[in-house]
Amino acid sequence: MSEPWDPSKPILEIENLSISFFTRLREIPAVMDFSCTVMAGEAMGLVGESGCGKSTVALAVMRDLGKNGRITGGSIRFKGRDLTRMGEEELRHLRGSEMAMIYQEPMASLNPAMKIGAQLAEVPMIHRGMAKDEAWKLARQIVADVRLPDPDRILNAYPHQLSGGQQQRIVIAMALMSKPALLILDEPTTALDVTVEAGIVDLVKDLGEKYGTSMLFISHNLGLVLDVCDRLCVMYSGEAVETGNVEEVFDKMRHPYTQALFRSIPLPGADKNARPLVAIPGNFPLPHERPRGCNFGPRCSYFVEGRCNAQDIPMVDVADAHRHESRCLRITEIDWSAPPAVARTAEKAEIGRVVLKLEDLKKYYSVGTSAFGGGMKKVVKANETLTFEAREGETLAIVGESGCGKSTFAKVLMGLETATSGKIMLFDENVQSTPIQMRGTDTISKLQMVFQNPFDTLNPSSTVGRQIIRALEIFKFGDSDAERHARMLELLDLVKLPRAFADRMPRQLSGGQKQRVGIARAFAGGAKVVVADEPVSALDVSVQAAVTDLLMDIQRKNKTTLLFISHDLSIVRYLSDRVMVMYLGHVVEMGTTDQVFSPPYHPYTEALLSAVPIADTRVQRNRIVLEGDIPSAVNPPPGCPFQTRCRWKSQVAGGLCDREVPPVRTLEGGHQIKCHLPDDVLASMEPVIKIAAE
């Protein structure tokens, strides 16, 4: 495949591409009139919400749309050759050798019954006819290249023996085995933790530079795109709405959707009063219900009746810019620098008395280790000595990566599990060893939960209204069905859903609407303490803002205490009063939001903050990439739980970190930190996030 090809020409040229999926009922257009160009060595970002067609474009480039998908128009030229006209055999030679893909879920993308080495070595064996031992040697070298420790062990391992981050590195290694010219990355870090994500992103960038690979980087995370890409293409409902250089699009966006998208994500660098979140009104149109004219029209605040919905809108060049295009008729008419119109400042609810108090809470699990039962019993220390208070009307955020024990804590609090030792006081009641089935109706209705995945938590065969009424029945609310029905309608009003939704089935609702139902259910009994376990992480960015605002609104009205469990530091900074950072079951830092988000940090908090990608070109981050993975809770390191990955460890004298779990220290203002670092080192810490002067 070494035909003469001019490197100054684009590697990938997509022109007016249209893709449809054919079902028995109808043709569903997934992508319409999509064009983009990727030059050699360039990284192109494809951004958009779920269902906008970005993954479809990627699969179309690989020509793997499945049985129902078909390219209905346009062309995809790879190194000047039209992929849409190629036969299976020709494509097979390109796939894996000149174009390679990296997937969202590394575990599912690796064959569970094949050794890593065999899966890697297969690539050069197919494409270059390499001998087996030579291919394994190459595999070993590439595994070392993606910075995995102990390559020989990894080559002989099965995928399930590696952690998520290691698996993704293997998928990347597999894509690099034949040094492809184009790498397609489909949400490569969505399934990973932030600190692991930071490592992967660094790796991808370095490898891109080292091998000169062009990249098509698909993501819904604008901050990541800013980190990785040179150019950007924003998609909405099957169309590209804006393309251009990353800096230009970020700073001088020329499409209302791009602008709305940026306004709906919280930025850790910005103040919540100066820059409130603005949710995009309405819902994403279904592919077969797209409006005439501009797809974004019905949700756009610049919409003009009779113009925007009159004809198809073409992509036009933005004046005074380099390769910057937008699909908007009113580019020149809109004042793009005007600040968001909404300036609704809500009074912060008064923080009242202590409603929830935890003292030395511990939760240990014992697990068997052998496949056939028996074997050694091991103890997983999911929560270690949690001590804190939450007050009325307060938002306490619990932050940490997967496996840090935040969900276990929620389960213990709710009574789904009972604590191993310690105390939980809810109002004046001791609930730590009362499982939920033994708790009184009153306690249960006071302490409720909003779940992470709204798609699975509603009963699919019962109407929305029925499910809320059922909750009211359980909480013994009201005396008659009529009363409960009336209350149910009030609850729908509370979560800003139309009353007609009472008769709908959950499948007729979008993700954001389902989450609203989940919130209505949680507040049905007048909950005083609500545990929100990643309530918005399964939702699209434009919906996240609306759901977050709703939670805050209800909190203000009911003076609810909100325990907000999240791994998303941006949203935590935006809405919480106090923050608690957890690592391997330990609370490593706790304090007010300002205390936690500014130095002195706990070393883990510092790394966590620096790992979060921020979609703002003015923000400068001090990047700290953590080495290795989170240790297993079954086998935690001795001494300080974070000592295996801590970059400050050398500053503590006498190897104290290896031996002793640090005590909780209280700094000024009640800021708690669990670290051995001496005061002067803590004081010398620099802020991780700096906003450059304009």
């Binding site: 690989m62 793997d64 049985k67 097979r92 030679h93 390109l94 796939r95 894996g96 050798s97 390679a100 893909m101 997937y103 879920e105 599912a108 993308s109 690796l110 064959n111 569970p112 019954a113 094949m114 297969e122 690539v123 197919i126 494409h127 099965y158 399930h160 023996q161 998928v171 597999m174 052998s370 496949a371 056939f372 039962g373 028996g374």
Partner: protein, 361 residues
């Protein structure tokens, strides 16, 4: 691993106890014993005579004691009659009672004497299990490769024409029980008046009256393709359909997995995708099903051996049950329990080796 195997063997022994006790109790109910007495001694016995015959032959003691004797954990009964002659469970006719062992049960390797075959049960069982073993071997040899091939072929391209044709075949065969397919096969291939044999005979293509013989008795001495084809096919057809459906379901699921897409987008050809990436993963589920087929084969064997007059385990079981042969029945139930539980043990261990996630998780 060792603990697991030991535990499974423990379960197996417990189950064998429970099952044999149930069979023992049922076959030793008073009406059944009366029938036994009448068939062994004289059909026109008076009730008194029956009772005394039962007492003489050790059937009057409590059920539990007799069960213990059968097991060999309770000493066999002995009885001295008026003439001073000592008879007993463990005393064979014509031997000196003084030298006879005190215990004679299953644990001592004495399975008793078959009343139908007039032979020790162990001999009957050895002969019939040997015969059935050959039948099962050929059934498995035909069934497993055929069904896996059919399943993989139809599962690798779901909804294709190959898939539909093969699925129709599989559903038809698995919906036809052995006693129907056996009769159909005989009528079609082994009848002098119906099916294709008369046509072939007239055309001079075959020398005999029928294409295949309608019985498999001759296979007891010498297995040939001709005399074994029909019984093997009758049992195998049912299983082929069943396992092929399972394999197909497993294969279609595997083919939609992301790692198959990964392989495809690595540039692996379709053949290699199926052979290297899909097959091993797709065979994990059918493996259990195939192992479950062994006990099911025992069932099919009863019908087919009777139908084709092949004197194996199934035929023996039918004969024993029909003629009230308690010892043979008990032995057959022990064998059945062991076949079922041993295959389950093999399937669990094999599963672990096929699926690396379980082995090391």
């Amino acid at each position: 691993m060792l603990m697991f195997v030991l535990r499974r063997i423990g379960v197996m022994i417990l189950t064998a106890f429970a099952l044999t006790f149930v069979v023992f109790y049922m076959t030793n109910l008073p009406p059944n014993l009366e029938k036994l007495a009448k068939s062994e001694a004289s059909v026109r016995m008076e009730d008194d005579a029956v009772i005394s015959w039962l007492a003489e032959n050790g059937y009057s003691s409590p059920v539990l004691q007799r069960y213990g004797e059968w097991l060999g954990v309770v000493p066999g009964w002995t009885r001295t009659d008026e003439t001073g002659k000592i008879t007993g469970r463990c005393i064979k006719a014509g031997t000196d009672p003084a030298t006879a062992p005190g215990y004679c049960g299953v644990l001592q390797g004495d399975w008793g004497f078959s009343t139908v075959f007039k032979q020790p049960v162990s001999e009957v069982l050895a002969r019939s299990l040997g015969a059935t073993g050959w039948l099962m071997f050929w059934v498995m040899a035909v069934m497993v490769p055929t069904s896996l091939l059919l399943g993989v072929l139809s599962g690798m391209r779901e909804g294709s024409r190959t898939d539909r044709v093969l699925s129709t075949f599989a559903i038809t065969t698995t919906a036809t029980p052995e006693y129907v397919s056996g009769v159909i096969l005989i009528a079609l291939l082994a009848s002098a008046t119906a099916g294709i044999s008369p046509i072939l005979n007239e055309a001079g293509w075959i020398s005999g009256k029928t294409l295949f013989p309608g019985t498999a008795t001759s296979a007891m001495d010498d297995i040939t393709f001709m005399n074994f084809f029909l019984p093997v096919m009758t049992i195998a057809l049912y299983g082929i359909g069943y396992i092929a459906r399972m394999t197909r379901a497993s294969m279609t699921e595997v083919m939609t997995q992301q790692y198959i897409r990964t392989a495809r987008l690595k540039g692996v050809g379709f053949r290699q995708v199926v052979m290297r990436h899909a097959l091993r993963n797709a065979l994990i589920a059918p493996f259990t099903v195939i192992m479950l087929q062994f006990p099911w084969l025992l069932n099919g064997v009863v019908i087919v051996e009777t139908l084709f007059n092949y004197k194996g385990f199934g035929w023996t079981l039918v004969q024993a049950a029909g003629n009230n042969d308690i010892n043979t029945l008990l032995a057959c139930s022990v064998v059945a329990v062991f076949v079922v539980l041993v295959t389950q043990l093999i399937s669990d261990i094999g599963y672990v080796f096929l699926n690396p996630r379980i082995r090391l998780a």
